[in-house]
Amino acid sequence: MITIAPAIYLVLTSLTPLNLTLPDTAWDFSAPAGNYLDLAEDPRFTRSVWIQVKLSVATVFLQLLVGLGVALLLNGSSRIREMARSGFLIPMVLPPIVVGILWRVMYAVDISPFHRFMAFVGLPVPSLITDPNWALTAIVIAETWEWFPFTMLMVLAALQMIPASPLEAARIDGANDWQIFRFVMFPYIQSTLVVAAIFRLIDSIKAFPLIFVLTDGGPGDVTEVTNYYAYRQAFTFSLWGYGSAIATLMVAGVFVLSYLIDRLTGVAHAEAD
């Protein structure tokens, strides 16, 4: 109930041109599809969706790759690696706003150790977050750093469930590391990777604090993802009806996406059985 009520309210609001500075607009349903028609012709909205797709695909892919790599490294049974697991966890649990500040420091030319080092060796690098060509990459790096531990944890858990006998058998048969990974380990962790990817994909749509602190959607609007655009329309420009319409579309998008994923992975599972 407490989840449904806001949803209904959201959809209703999205049908009105609600603007809090104009009280008459609150329950004005004279043009219910107005916001949606405007959206269809709003290039900034279309662009924000495209930016979202780029951000999501890049971060999810990199997180899977890095998370898997680190998990394989940590899968050994030495004390150092056991302890390192807690350390690698830190980025994920930090308050997102602090992650934003960390990376803001890393990207600030005058204070970042990275930039200072590059300047010192004679290769000064301009700040990534103020460069329109690199700002999105900067966000991708920070987002990957923040969330690769999630994949790492899930893969580690899956790796530890692999029974020892097939691994030993493969080793006795003379399989090299790559073959062991590809043909023995990978089938065990495949479904875990899919689940991790789904979670990260859905979460990547919510990316907000990082963008808020690092680039504020800029420069221009190159890092303005859909979520951020909706926030701006509603909370900066006070166009609540319009913001709600974007949010409604986002919810719809997430549901369609999870439905598709469910179907696709369902098919994949059926084939694997």
Binding site: I90, L102, N227
Partner: protein, 292 residues
């Protein structure tokens, strides 16, 4: 796990490449350890950098000297500003929403676990909805409703929002713990004269203590870390620590030392707690993973 292949003792005249490969094989474990430590240092570098910045004196804030006299000046400056109040707000909202979610959610999870009624799917759906829907979809209605109800910029308003999310999480996390407590133990307690409630408090709860602790900690972390709801639903009175940081960035500009100090304070409880409950984090953060 034994992963070394011992080279045969009588390998005829090892080639150079082969012998270096054997060297790798033999020292694999040590190499892996070294790699792990190097990688860990690299990954945690930004984190460590921020912490050391918070202790650096202002005139040397951009400095590179590894040896500097640490100062608490930034922390002292924070103490005199508006930051302590918002830190307190963060504590109150996180603790209150966690405690309330536990008080309501734990018995609910127990009831669900013992009813035998297959409502898990519906619960999973509820959690999925609160987890998947973009926060903006919740904030707009909450914001508009709170304006009418007079709840905007109040601690109560924030607690209600966090409660919604934490409650779903508590039920999701606690149910399997209760499923794991054998019914026979409770039945034994009933025979010995305990009521249902007493048996629950005296037998079941203590047995699921680790789960309770982990769940509470995760609820706390999630509310503590929240930025978006707090940003939108509070202004000055009820602003939480993450929002306070952003506020003084907007008012005083990038005063690195103070920002670093505030960031360090905000992340401190989370880092400590999360290492304590490491093993349960996956389930908590992956809540809603029906396929898990």
């Amino acid at each position: 796990m034994q992963r070394q292949i011992e080279p045969g003792p009588a390998t005829a005249r090892p080639l150079r490449a082969a012998s270096s490969r054997y060297w790798f094989q033999r020292n694999r474990r040590r190499l892996g350890d070294i790699g792990t430590v190097v990688l860990l240092l690299l990954v945690l570098f930004p984190f460590v950098w921020l912490v050391q910045m918070s202790f650096r004196p202002n005139r040397d804030i951009l400095g590179y000297d590894l040896l500097f006299t640490p100062t608490l000046a930034h922390y002292r400056a924070l103490w005199t500003g508006a930051f302590p109040a918002s830190f307190l707000n963060s504590l109150i909202t996180s603790l209150a929403s966690t405690v309330l979610a536990m008080v309501i959610g734990v018995p609910a999870a127990y009831a669900l676990s013992r009813s035998g009624f297959k409502s898990t799917r519906r619960i999973a759906l509820w959690i999925l909805a609160t987890r998947m829907a973009p926060p903006i979809a919740f904030t707009i209605p909450f914001f508009l409703a709170y304006r009418h109800l007079g709840l905007s910029d109040t601690l109560l308003g924030l607690i209600i929002v966090y409660l919604t999310f934490n409650l779903a999480l508590v039920i999701w996390m606690m149910q399997p713990f209760f499923d794991g407590v054998p019914r026979e133990l409770e039945e034994a307690a009933w025979i010995d004269g305990c009521g249902v409630w007493e048996a629950f408090c005296r037998v079941t709860l203590p047995l699921s203590a680790p789960g309770l602790a982990a769940t509470a900690v995760i609820c706390f972390i999630l509310s503590w870390n929240d930025f978006f709801y707090a940003l939108v639903l509070t202004r000055t009175n009820a602003s939480t620590a993450p929002v306070a940081i952003v506020n003084f960035i907007q008012y005083t500009g990038w005063e690195w030392g103070r920002i670093a100090a505030a960031g360090t304070l905000v992340m401190l409880p989370v880092v400590v707690f999360s290492i304590l409950v490491r093993n349960y984090l996956v389930r908590g953060l992956a809540a809603g993973g029906v396929k898990e």
